[in-house]
Symmetry: C2
Subunit: 231 residues, 2 copies
DNA sequence: AAACATATTTAGGCATATCTAAATTAAATA
DNA sequence: TATTTAATTTAGATATGCCTAAATATGTTT
């Protein structure tokens, strides 16, 4: 029997999302092993799926020579990312989840098949441009603000400037929990006072009053922009 | 490798829900074919699944002698039903979906695995007792108001009494759309003026002003209670 | 009680998505 | 350039959930 409705499985969607994210991180040569790493699966399984996605013209795939999304594949990936980030926003803003609690649930909700649902959530949230981690939310046509345009790493930021947290690079629960506890969340104001030459750790002032220290390791995972630099 | 986390698949959950609903309709002897009908699948597939659910002690199953949910199975079914009805309520009340548009989406959302999510939606909606179709929403412990306790079919209701619509029996899109268009929705006030002896069609007054006729076929799918009879 | 009709189960297959282990290819090194 | 190493692909299995067709059980007629 032929399949009447053309639809991607959850797994296919997750592979496309993973490929998109690896590409976004800068790799323009995306390998089977890269994907296996991101998907927590084995290279052999990835090869199987790549053949399938290629047959559906969602990726360009040449054996042994890596992978790239087609226009169509990119569209599917961005749609899932849009849905994921809107759901994260909904969970945090409307249902009062903490920003470190939303990922796994959004990972499920993103696959619910209903354009209308995503549109309505978007409208309900008043068309947010960024999710709770500071990542940009693609619009319904897949247009996305190029990731953190005007942002730099906190570890590279100029001293004594008024900065605002725009996002984080590490999305792990442990990192997010640490940030949440310290009050370093998107929107917070921050100023770099000094850097220890020895270990490159930073002295900061948060929201104009709280003094704190963070390691270079942490500062490298925080994105900031000049205060007022992003609406 | 042994499965570390004990979890039911979407399909298993749907079978349990189907069995629960057939039982609720009055059948106390539930057959393989009953389930195949409800699940839109074949008897052979049902047998496969019954063996599986039985092994997991979610149903009591004796070959050729029908099926009943165990306490545990009932709990799982009621949990899914709770989630489904809360999501329907959310879609209608918060996202302004029509009551005839919510079923398919809720059918997907009900399977999202997060107790916290369901609890938060419940709280956000202010702990509703009934869904948009008038069906009772089980609480977090699986306690459910016995379906339409004080309700009777509109076709059986007394004349010239002030009644309120409490629910519908037919949940098909076409029926719901018809009801929506006529204004016969849970909460509406209604009074039976007369019944045609010939075809048992009813003359009604809706919300104290709109006069209308409905066939007996329709009236048999509408539940009503004495106005003020249910909070 | 035997024969029949109907419902149910079994047997054998298919598709998806996964895995391990073996074979193959590409790229780096000697 | 030949060899080695590392990545990738293929081959062959497994589990889920579904199917069709054949076998079997139940219960109802005759």
């Amino acid at each position: 029997m032929t399949k009447l409705i053309l639809m991607n499985t959850f797994t296919e969607e997750n592979y496309l999302k993973a490929i998109y994210k690896i590409a976004e991180e800068g790799d323009d040569f995306i390998t089977t092993n890269d994907i296996a790493g991101k998907m927590n699966t084995k290279a052999a399984s990835v090869t199987d799926m790549l053949r399938k996605l290629s047959a559906k013209k969602l990726i360009k795939y040449k054996k042994y020579y890596g992978v790239a999304l087609t226009e169509n594949g990119k569209k599917v990936a961005l749609n899932i990312i849009r849905s994921h980030r809107l759901w994260e926003m909904f969970l945090v803003k409307t249902l009062k989840f903490k920003w470190d609690e939303v990922h796994d649930v959004a990972e499920q909700l993103e696959h619910v098949r209903s354009e209308k649902l995503v549109k309505h959530i978007d409208k309900f949230l008043n068309f947010p441009k960024f999710d709770p981690h500071g990542d940009p939310i693609p619009d319904a046509n897949g247009k996305i603000i190029s990731s953190h345009e005007k942002s730099v790493l906190l570890s590279e930021a100029k001293h004594d400037k008024n900065l605002v947290i725009t996002g984080v690079k590490d999305h792990s629960v442990s990192f997010l929990q640490l940030m949440e506890k310290s009050g370093i969340v998107p929107g917070s104001k921050i100023k770099v006072k000094a850097v220890q030459p020895y270990d490159k750790s930073l002295s900061l002032v948060l929201n104009g009053r709280k003094k704190m220290f963070v390691s270079n390791q942490i500062a490298k995972n925080i994105l900031v922009a000049n205060a007022g630099g992003r609406k």
